[in-house]
Symmetry: C2
Subunit: 374 residues, 2 copies
């Protein structure tokens, strides 16, 4: 039975392993390199589960995170964030020990990478296929060519390919919509690749990464590499999108009940924005929620309670709205297991996981503290 | 000049000191006990600034936070969160060294506090004056009496008073509205106090806590203690409410510029939900923003740039929407200083502050890691 005095980040390692295994098998079946994004779990302990299924290449979102995983033996690491030129010396140091991938999207940033590089460094052009976050806009061929030229001129960096994160798949509400968004994205990437080949930059790879596409779709024609991250844990957002089942959600936050309000069928839990994050979603029913609520059951947690959700959140408080029936069964001091809306943001708040067998598994946050000067 | 390779939490200690001094002076002038909420800064280093202005009693939001500040010599500590009965033994241990205040709101929770207590423990009845978060609803006199009876029957706890956090003041859009909300809240608290006196529970104190009221209002008739927290740093939310000026905002997040997008007058910064939190607000103009943007200037930062804000955020990326003029002056690798929407939630993400003189000041997060078994 789950036991915790204060809020704790629970990990169902069996579910996480199954999620990893399925994705690894799918990538193998489709002939894709599987380079999972480790920013979701941020833990060498969880990372080792991926090794069990043959994963050798990983994605991270910061130089620090690359260093953290490199120390645990990972040696093919892509930093999937536009290169931060303020960290060039740290990146150079890192490149001495691992095969490194960097994202570039402007000639200026590439020029700031000048100098000698100790190891093998791949440059990926970050392409914006329509999300309008970061990257070279897919129809701005002149910019893509200019960046490719800078990389080639620089020498030590190898122009490896085109990379995108298609965040727009999160807006798709049906499988057909998801397929259409994904198809359009691949079409654009292939067009950029072809145009660059026509301008003398041939043999570029394509790397894509988002959990909804990677989980639901089969058509990855022209793609060399996938980089999903969230699938290892999933969350209420994926559930709402229909890209996972409840039994694929591998993390939850244990929250003590501190007050019961029968008048309004609400419980107050010790579990707020500092435990769950402030990420919310609006359900298909039009309700803003901050998590789904389960009861401890066996060694883990039950299915999500019907007509029950975290409907409001402040720094430490969560308000669980439920039915009079459920409320009548709750007692002060009980634990609830809250499924997070966005597991990446929730996990980022914690120094460790509490696995269902009672083992504690550290995250980068614990490592950060142990690093002198940080 | 501000210098950081990666995102950093900047602290303007002079501004913070001035914010503390003003609030301490106001409390003294109004004859109120000043028990600031330390969950905003979560730092013994920042806490010591309060000592310089005569503060002796503090508010925290967890048992861990109480222990952290107790280790630094604070000995009059109120844990302003409904008592978590799973932590009774830890609370008992804490009570041996400090004068402790606890919040209770149900007979059940009070009964779980039975047993001997080593020191002086005050019980405060948490009253809900209309925010519908936690607490005994102000018009539920029977429940208030029942809880008061349990406390008295238990013996070792002393029934100290009534406490509320009037979160509704954050909804007030004008000083008149704020005054009306605050006035109604005090009226309700005084009514509960009077009713309890009539039932044999006399001499109860009243404790209130929210920054908008504490900063803007003068009428605290009947109040014994104020517990504002946010005022030490303020933030864009307070600015939007009109309860602080820009020169009273004492924290900002330094974020490197990693990409520029002239086509849409946007910059991409290394600064996302893991640095700022996902807290947003909708401005009077109807725009959802995640922070205001300043330039480094002198030893600190400039005023907020006009027509410029963080308008979208993901795990590590922030999108700054600005004017073509501002964008034309930015370079890859520049630092921007982002004023957070909600400083409490932002600070909670960091192990340390970087003060403008280059000194690093730790938070509870660094201490947490150093504590064995955590």
């Amino acid at each position: 039975m789950i036991d915790a005095k204060t809020p704790a980040l629970l990990l169902d390692a069996s579910r996480a392993r199954l999620n990893v295994r399925r994705m690894a098998e799918k990538a193998r079946r489709l002939g894709l390199r599987f380079r999972p994004h480790f920013k979701t779990h941020q833990s060498v302990g969880v990372g080792r589960m991926f090794r069990e299924y043959g994963v050798e290449a990983i994605t991270v979102s910061s130089v620090d995170m690359a260093r953290y995983f490199a120390e645990d033996g990972w040696n093919d690491i892509l930093i999937a964030f536009p290169v931060n030129v303020r960290e060039v010396e740290d990146i150079r140091e890192l490149a001495a020990g691992v095969r490194l991938g960097l994202l570039v999207e402007s000639p200026e940033a590439v020029r700031r990478l000048a100098g000698t590089w100790p190891g093998s460094v791949d440059a990926w052009l970050k392409i914006d296929v329509g999300a309008n976050r970061a990257g070279i806009e897919w129809d701005d061929l002149e910019l893509a060519v200019a960046v490719a030229r800078e990389v080639t001129a620089l020498g030590p960096l190898r122009l490896r390919g085109l990379l995108t994160h298609n965040g727009q798949t999160y807006l798709a509400r049906t499988p057909a919509e998801l397929g259409a968004v994904h198809g359009e994205s691949l079409k654009r990437l292939r067009a950029v690749r072809e145009a660059l080949a026509g301008r003398g930059f041939g043999g570029l790879e394509i790397s894509v990464g988002d959990t909804p596409s990677a989980k639901r779709l089969e058509d990855f024609a022209g793609v060399d590499e996938i980089r999903p991250g969230n699938f290892v844990f999933n969350d209420v957002m994926q559930l709402e999108l229909g890209t996972c089942g409840e039994d694929e959600i591998a993390v939850a936050v244990a929250c003590p009940v501190v007050a019961l309000h029968p008048r309004r069928a609400e419980a107050v839990i010790y579990g707020g924005g500092i435990h769950l994050s402030k990420e919310s979603l609006v359900t298909r029913g039009g309700e803003e929620i901050f998590g789904r609520v389960c009861l401890p059951e066996g060694d883990g947690w039950s299915g999500a309670l019907a007509a029950t959700a975290v409907t409001s959140i402040s720094q430490e408080h969560g308000i669980v709205r439920t039915t009079p029936d459920v409320l009548a069964r709750l007692r002060i001091g009980d634990l609830l297991a809250v499924l997070p809306v966005h597991s990446c943001m929730t996990v980022n708040l914690w120094p460790e996981y509490l696995a269902l067998d009672g083992v504690r598994i550290g995250t980068i946050r614990a490592w950060d503290c142990a690093t002198p000067g940080v």
